[in-house]
């Protein structure tokens, strides 16, 4: 029992005793006790009522009376009350700061639960994608952003997947969407405005396509005059070598421009159609007969499965084969050997070009498919490559969801493997092929 409580009890007992003593003086001790008890009760009721009012109004100072236990109760309550209020203000302040900072974020952020329902979103999400913070709470996000691409993203297992979609409130802008899982089942959907990037890459593509196109016509004129100069009998003999070289270079330039145009076409096209089945083994035979017999060409072997066919465009697959084969020929000595392999199995089909040429250092392999990348700056150009061949191969393969993997060992040879997914391959049982 605390000091104040002890005082309180002693005080009441003394008060009652005093009442009894006064009553006893008048010869009515019981009446005296009763009167004292009644007065004490009235006093306590009054304190209780003012405590109740103080609690309800929150104003403790005006209702505090007397000292002793009631004063202590008042002080304790006032203290607790003020502490709670301060804490609440602090939380509210913190919450406001957090919301302010998420609203200041330039990227849209939407918190989703396991059913893809919106729990919270920031201001950028509203500006970029029209997600309303209060109205759309509890809605499934793919009911508001209905792009089929986003649905694919929400159901994908791959966390590194990002998609790009047109903003639902502004046709001109593009959003990049990413899904980040966190804490249990929640997910954070991040939306970023990538309009500028998309515009720039389109501008770059258009520029390359237009520039190559515009360069072609003057080149045709130059090549035409060079042709007639070369045929001219009156031309001094010491000019014939420069003219022949100019002709060769003009031809090379035309070749490069053609490939650049082809590349920009491939870049802007979607996936290849799958209407025609291509006889890959026939294409391999054709490619071999086109190259064989020329000087400096190594021996070419073919190991193809004629029963497997590929769905797509024959011209594009031919480009892939010719590019890979001419690369192999360029880097394989005449006494070497090049093998073209085409085979199918359960998880797709492989088109493989193996050579016994000079090989590639491992450090160069990741960069091989970059445009105009050359392992040895000086040499490859002499051999007549444009520097675009593997870039074209990569882009064609992308249209088929296929993958290019390169395996090489210096001085032993290289292996270029194109792996096509199974849904691109048709296998007919052997025997039914003519």
């Amino acid at each position: 029992m605390s000091d104040a409580a002890r005082k309180f009890v002693v005080g009441i007992l003394l008060f009652l005793a005093a009442g009894t003593v006064v009553g006893w003086l008048y010869d009515r001790p019981v009446v005296g006790l009763m009167v004292a008890a009644l007065l004490g009760l009235l006093w306590q009721v009054r304190q209780l009522l003012s405590f109740d009012r103080a609690l309800r109004t929150g104003n403790f100072d005006d209702f505090r009376q007397g000292d002793g236990i009631w004063e202590q109760i008042f002080s304790r309550f006032q203290y607790e009350n003020e502490k709670a209020t301060r804490r609440k203000l602090g939380y509210r302040q913190l919450l406001r700061e957090v919301r302010k900072s998420t609203n200041a974020m330039p990227d849209g952020a939407v918190i989703l639960n396991s059913d893809n329902e919106i729990i919270a979103s920031n201001r950028a999400a509203k500006q970029l994608a029209g997600i309303k913070r209060k109205k759309d709470r509890g809605q499934r996000v793919d009911n508001i952003l209905r792009d089929p691409e986003l649905t694919r993203l929400l159901h994908a297992d791959d966390q590194s997947l990002t998609i790009e979609m047109v903003s639902p409130i502004d046709d001109g802008s593009w959003l990049n969407c990413r899904l980040v899982p966190y804490g249990g089942d929640q997910k954070l959907l991040l939306l970023r405005d990538v309009t500028e990037r998309i515009r720039l890459s389109k501008m770059r593509r258009d520029f390359v396509a237009n520039a190559s196109h515009e360069l072609r016509s003057p080149l045709t004129v130059i090549a035409g005059y060079l042709d007639s100069l070369a045929d001219d009998d009156d031309m001094p003999a010491d000019w014939s070598k420069p003219v022949a070289q100019m002709q060769a270079q003009a031809q090379r330039m035309r070749h490069i421009l053609g490939e650049m145009l082809e590349l920009s076409r491939l870049e802007s096209a979607g996936t290849a159609n799958a209407d025609d089945a291509i006889d890959v083994s026939r294409l391999l035979e054709d490619a071999r007969s086109a190259f064989e017999g020329h000087a400096d060409v190594a021996r070419i072997l073919i190991d193809a499965d004629p029963g497997a066919q590929l769905k797509g465009s024959a011209a594009e697959i031919e480009t892939v084969i010719v590019n890979l084969l001419s690369n192999a020929i360029r880097f394989t000595p005449t006494d070497g050997e090049i093998t073209l392999i085409w085979r199918a199995d359960a998880d797709g089909a492989d088109l493989i070009v193996v050579d016994t040429g000079e090989g590639i250092d491992a450090e160069h392999i990741p960069r091989l498919t970059e445009r105009f990348f050359r392992v040895d700056k000086g040499r490859a150009r002499d051999k007549g490559g444009t520097g675009l061949g593997l870039a074209i191969v990569k882009h064609v393969l992308a249209r088929y969801d296929a993958e290019l993997s390169i395996d090489s060992e210096p001085d032993k040879g290289s292996e270029f493997r194109c792996h096509f997914p199974a849904d691109r391959v048709v296998v007919t049982p052997p025997g039914s092929v003519s």
Binding site: G130, K135, N143, I144, R146, P148, T151, P168
Partner: protein, 236 residues
């Protein structure tokens, strides 16, 4: 005790069924929106390949319609919904029909785009069709948003918007007639443009219908063929 558990269980399954149904309708709406915007960009950029792709992909919309229809039938037969649930199902059955028609019109536009791409392009590269197309695409999107948010105010907005689309359609038609009178050689091309505009205008009508179903679903009153009442602002 057990009985109450069971009903709770059943109604939760029922809720989930209705929720799934709604999600499927919105997914179908998303696909239709995508088809429409691809069809419009096929016209504007003169991309015949894209136009044909849109025309080919219409089967996906049709598949959606069939499967949602089946689902609705199953819910009607097994759950016998009443009141708001019943209105939801009725509205969905009608909505998917309109969505499927929008898909058909988009298919038509895609096909016409591939034809137009092969012809001479006018110097303004079909600016009016582009404007009308974007207008209509917004209507479809707002209609689906109204469906998702059960937002009567937004639904009325789309219904009002349809009148503006009709005016735009009128003006394109007048312009096309002028072209054909000026130069009879352009008739073949301009006829295709007219068909496109016609399809877009029809899509606007379908979007309006969907919004009327939304109003029916939320408020339970049929506002078809009644015109836009005054003071719809207060309804929400």
């Amino acid at each position: 005790m057990e009985a109450s558990d069971l009903t709770d269980h059943i109604s939760r399954r029922f809720n989930k069924d209705l929720e799934d149904l709604r999600n499927h309708v919105l997914a179908m709406g998303g696909l239709v929106e995508q088809q429409l915007s691809l069809a419009i960009s096929a016209i504007v950029s003169g991309d015949s390949e894209l136009g044909l792709k849109v025309a080919e992909d219409d089967y996906k919309v049709n598949e959606f319609e069939v499967s949602i229809d089946e689902e609705c039938g199953r819910i009607l037969a097994t759950r016998a919904p009443a009141a708001g649930d019943l209105r939801l199902i009725v509205a969905i059955i009608k909505t998917i029909t309109d969505l499927e028609r929008i898909g058909d019109e988009a298919e038509k536009i895609g096909f016409l785009a591939s034809k137009l791409a092969a012809m001479d392009r006018p110097s303004d590269s079909y600016r009016e069709l582009k404007t009308l197309g974007h207008h209509v695409a917004h209507m479809v999107r707002d209609a689906m948003n109204a469906f998702a948010r059960l937002d009567v105010e937004e639904a009325w907005e789309v219904v009002r918007e349809d009148e503006r689309v009709d005016e735009e359609y009128e003006s394109i038609q007048r312009q096309c007639i002028t072209f054909m009178m000026e130069d009879p050689r352009s008739i073949k091309r301009v006829m295709n443009v007219t068909w496109c505009a016609r399809s877009l205008e029809r899509i606007g009508d379908h979007a309006k219908n969907i919004c009327e179903y939304v109003i029916y679903m939320v408020q339970g009153r049929d506002v078809r063929h009644t015109g836009v009442p005054e003071g719809t602002k207060s309804d929400s």
